[in-house]
Symmetry: C2
Subunit: 281 residues, 2 copies
Amino acid sequence: MMTPPRQKRTVFYLSDRTGITAETLGHSLLTQFDGIEWETVNVPFLEEVDKARHISQRINEAAQRDGQKPLVFSTLLNPEIIEVIRQSNCRMFDFFETFICSIEEELHQPFARMAGRSHGLQHHLSYFKRIAAINYVLAHDDGINPKNFDAAEIILIGVSRSGKTPTCLYLGLQYGIAAANYPLTPDDMHDLQLPKALASEDIRKKLFGLTLGAAQLHSIRNERRPNSQYASLDQCRQEIQWQESLYGLFDIPYLDTTYISIEEISAIILNRCGLKRQLYG
Amino acid sequence: MMTPPRQKRTVFYLSDRTGITAETLGHSLLTQFDGIEWETVNVPFLEEVDKARHISQRINEAAQRDGQKPLVFSTLLNPEIIEVIRQSNCRMFDFFETFICSIEEELHQPFARMAGRSHGLQHHLSYFKRIAAINYVLAHDDGINPKNFDAAEIILIGVSRSGKTPTCLYLGLQYGIAAANYPLTPDDMHDLQLPKALASEDIRKKLFGLTLGAAQLHSIRNERRPNSQYASLDQCRQEIQWQESLYGLFDIPYLDTTYISIEEISAIILNRCGLKRQLYG
């Protein structure tokens, strides 16, 4: 079977503010289509009509170059700017316009048309919670300060490079969760015991294990210390086999992270452990 | 003027996978409406029809309790599950259905209908970049290892608790940027000089300053060390005045973060410094 020629297309993400919403939504939609080579143009903080005219020109140039209309995902709120963009040679997906009328109708009130509400600093309290969670994560990374594990909402465990630190940071930043982590080290591999710091009943209830395929661990460790014993496939296999036996023996819930992202790992842990997120509603 | 009675409403975020897209979309829209008290129900990983029936029942119960239809934001892809939800007593906003047909038409191909593509681990390379960026941030937090500042894409500076660390972590996690940070400490306040580690021309080009209102800094520091000299309003005022003079004297671009979130600070820095994001297209 012949592979069809790859389409080349351009996508613009336009926003009055950070662009996070426009990018998240557009990205979700476009990942449903294969075989297209995307040229991505992010334009956050598009607040002036003159700048909009310049962007409109760039859209028209991209249309000519690609021989196809660029896609434009917009969370713009300023009607004058929207109108300038709309007159370009593009296919525009306007998130607010699409949904806001039905929501207005359902809530019996007009919307505020104020930019920057979704990722702005609205709630002083949640800012503090977020900062407190990040501080907790940093102060309880990689086995530091296990005497404060009482205050942890969850404690991730796993061998070196199994993804504990990035996951804890994401849980702290995104959800305001006080997440600690503790390494499983080869020094302990001689028997099937949990490290002493984790052995008490109160702590064990909060443990969640991470694991991954040996080949993936090997490739991650190899980036860090190429061709070391630490990174060898054989060493990775042994450590993973040992940690999964530990998880089984002590009835510790765990997750294989080989094919999933930090966002997914975090959402799955939150869901499976019934943790209450502290941020965003 | 009388304040109108606050409406109580329920909102459901339903997804086959993490729920990040559904929540981002709904949150952006709902923050445009004031005076409503939202009860939020997040349902990620909704993959079974039985579970959908249970959620449908919860939607109906919420409708009865509130005396108003719940809003449902969905990124569900399974038609059978969508149908179960659609028959509940709700106002449903179906993200894929709304946009996907126009996009299919524009791209001349059907969509994949595969869940978990947007926040899944699709690109091995970007996973490594992300992990490398997070490692860089952690190894260059709060003035550690300034001898490696050559490798930094940006170096945030500011007094204690001005938001350097959370911003660097966000830049690393979300955008894959190697962001370092270096504290401005009262020890140096006797003159208007940059700390020695930052004085070379190559480093100075990468500096970006954070500042904030004295009252805000006071309240953040007070959380950490209540009623200390460190947290006093007077001390905060002096440190801020000093750092802003430094920024001015050395022509360092800077940002007042008093009213903005970590997401916004990060997006503004990215935009203003022309940094190239390493993740998501």
